[in-house]
């Protein structure tokens, strides 16, 4: 079942959009894939699937794609795994890309397998580093075992080499308004009558992008759902709110603000973990922070091993005190002459 790998070329990036809004990880991938394509001497191709997505396609050119393939049809809005997977698989089989990169969002992780399985492609999950080895194979690196190990995954005899990539690990490039390229509309091979699922309703709010924040205050299970002290602290620090999975699962904070293995990777100058235990899956997403502060009432909480400064104390007391101090510092009348 191995294939002739030389018959495959070009680096593809899936541009994830919902209702015209593009997931930021798509642009991050496009920037990273620009370098991979250059190293391989191949073209960078963006794949846009959706309805009325011409603006998205043009933006993909400005963000670095040499070409854009557009599958535009009402069947693709809102997203469903089966039509997306089917269309993408068809394009992969018809055009034989060498590398295919997909954001490690719920959407990306939902349908990547739907493409990789029928194509018998190698698929690596949730990568945090990408490279090309001396033989021209993609090296996809991903943390394993709580981030203690970085595993390198290769796919030597199958194509395409597919990977999902975490949000926030690469930096998006600024769009260049003068950049142009070819936009090709492809045949839509999916028929509504053949779909296996239907979306009854979909409610999404504004999604937050915590991956760019300079300062982050993260709420954990210790808040027990009372986020006021954390929000006040975030306000006083001019920081973005983030959360552990516990706080997200409980419905206190939206999933788009979850930090960690199944959330986002953040790299702020300051990360304040409030009532967060410091589980490996959480730490994995915040390890790139510059300075980490932990506030926790359990002196043995693992978060203290991953923090530069720790205060053992009740967050409901510590946070308001911090807020007072910070606000005093901001108040010019308090500045000594």
């Amino acid at each position: 079942m191995p294939v002739d790998v030389d018959e495959y070329e070009d680096v593809w990036v899936f541009v994830e959009e919902h209702d015209g809004d593009v997931a930021p990880v798509s642009w991050e991938l496009l920037a990273e894939a620009r370098d991979l394509a250059a190293e391989l001497g191949e073209d960078l191709v963006a794949l846009v699937i959706g309805e009325d997505v011409d603006d998205v396609a043009r933006e993909a050119l400005r963000r670095g794609a040499d070409r854009v393939l557009v599958a535009d049809d009402p069947v693709f809005e809102p997203y469903r795994a089966d039509p997306y997977g089917e269309q993408f698989r068809h394009l992969v089989e018809e055009r034989r890309p060498d590398v295919v990169l997909i954001g490690g969002t719920h959407t990306g992780r939902d349908f990547a397998g739907r493409v990789a399985v029928p194509a018998h492609a190698g698929l690596t999950a949730d990568c945090t580093e990408l490279g090309i080895d001396e033989d021209g194979h993609l090296e996809a690196r991903r943390p394993a075992f709580g981030g203690n190990v970085l595993a390198t995954i290769k796919c030597e005899n199958h194509r395409p080499q597919m990977a999902t990539v975490r949000s926030g690990v690469f930096e998006a490039a600024e769009p260049d308004p003068d950049r142009d390229g070819e936009i090709e509309r492809v045949d839509v091979i999916v028929d509504e009558a053949d779909t296996l699922t239907s979306v009854l309703d979909r409610s999404v709010g504004e999604t937050a992008d915590i991956t760019d924040a300079d300062r982050i205050v993260a709420a954990g299970g210790g808040t027990e759902g009372d986020l006021d002290p954390v929000l006040d602290l975030a306000d006083a620090l001019d920081a973005e709110l983030a959360a552990s999975r516990k706080a997200v699962d409980e419905g206190w904070v939206g999933h788009d603000r979850q930090v960690g293995q199944t959330g986002k990777t953040v790299r702020p100058d300051l990360y304040v973990a409030v009532g967060v235990s410091g589980a490996v899956q959480h730490v994995e997403g915040m390890n790139d922070s510059d300075v980490v502060v932990a506030i926790n009432d359990d002196p043995n909480a693992p978060i203290f091993d991953h923090a530069d400064y720790g205060i053992v104390g009740d967050l409901f007391e510590v946070c308001p005190e911090l807020v007072d101090l910070l606000e005093d510092a901001d108040d010019p009348t308090e500045v000594p002459a």
Partner: protein, 262 residues
């Protein structure tokens, strides 16, 4: 139409991730002293499957692909309330990545005539989350991942689900057969009753299925049929942190000012 559903639950034995240690000298993983446990997200899958049974009646069968050593996770599933359990085991499966693994589980689901396959979100040892969509893709079935709630609709041969999507939720209806991956922590897994525990540990024997039983070509599974290979493992130097304890908030503000982050 009145046929009772068969719900297949995929479970996996994994090393307790809190126990996995790294040999600082060789950089190799020491999993030997890690306790083998039921992958935690699979408990949510079992609970979701048993709720289908509670609601509409169903035969719930736990399945694991692994060595005979993995039988305790099947016992745990039976103790929780599964009607039966299957150990899919064959030397030919050794070294399988997610492609052949999902092929074997897809064949098993087909063999068992599954209407619904329920899996955990991902495993804590490899955390790819790729197996549930892989099963669906191999069989050409519908899939629902990141599921928070399930509503069986037996009269329509469908299942409805609430899914977590970036920034919100959606409700989706899928035709059977369907593969469901339940979001970790989304329900409160029931505890096993003493009676069932005793039954699971003493009377229960899992059904064993091999590649041959499933009609799976041995060349399509195992290491050789896996498109991905692990090319290396590097230890990552843990991020050095100051680990300084400060007593008071004002000390903290001072320290942060010194760091230049205020």
């Amino acid at each position: 139409m009145n046929d009772q559903w068969t719900v297949v639950v995929g479970v996996k034995q994994v090393p307790d991730e809190d126990d996995v240690s790294l040999d600082p000298d060789t950089g190799t993983l020491d999993r030997a002293d890690a306790e083998a446990i039921l992958n935690r997200p699979d408990r949510n899958a079992l609970e979701a499957a048993l709720r289908i049974k509670d609601e509409v009646g169903a035969r719930v069968v736990a399945v694991t692909m692994g060595p005979p050593m993995a039988t305790p996770v099947l016992e745990a599933a039976v103790a929780m309330g599964c009607d039966d359990a299957v150990l899919v085991t064959d030397r030919a499966f050794a070294g399988s990545d997610t492609w052949p693994t999902s092929l074997v589980l897809a064949a098993t689901a087909d063999y068992l005539d599954a209407d619904v396959v329920v899996c955990g979100e991902e495993t804590t040892d490899s955390s790819t989350g790729q197996v549930p969509p892989g099963i669906a893709a191999h069989n050409g079935w519908a899939q629902l991942t990141y599921v928070e709630e399930l509503d069986p609709l037996p009269e329509d041969e469908q299942i409805a689900a609430r899914r977590d999507v970036e920034g919100g939720h959606e409700r989706v209806v899928a035709d059977l057969p369907v593969v469901v991956a339940v979001a970790y922590g989304e329900n409160e897994p029931r505890t096993a009753g003493l009676h069932r525990k005793i039954h699971a540990e003493n009377e229960f024997e899992p059904v064993e299925l091999t590649a041959d039983d499933l009609g799976v070509d041995e060349d399509a599974v195992g290491l050789a049929a896996s498109p991905t290979q692990v090319g290396g493992m590097e230890t990552v130097e843990p991020v050095e942190r100051e680990r300084e304890r400060v007593e008071t908030p004002s000390e903290l503000v001072g320290a942060l000012a010194d760091e230049g982050v205020m």
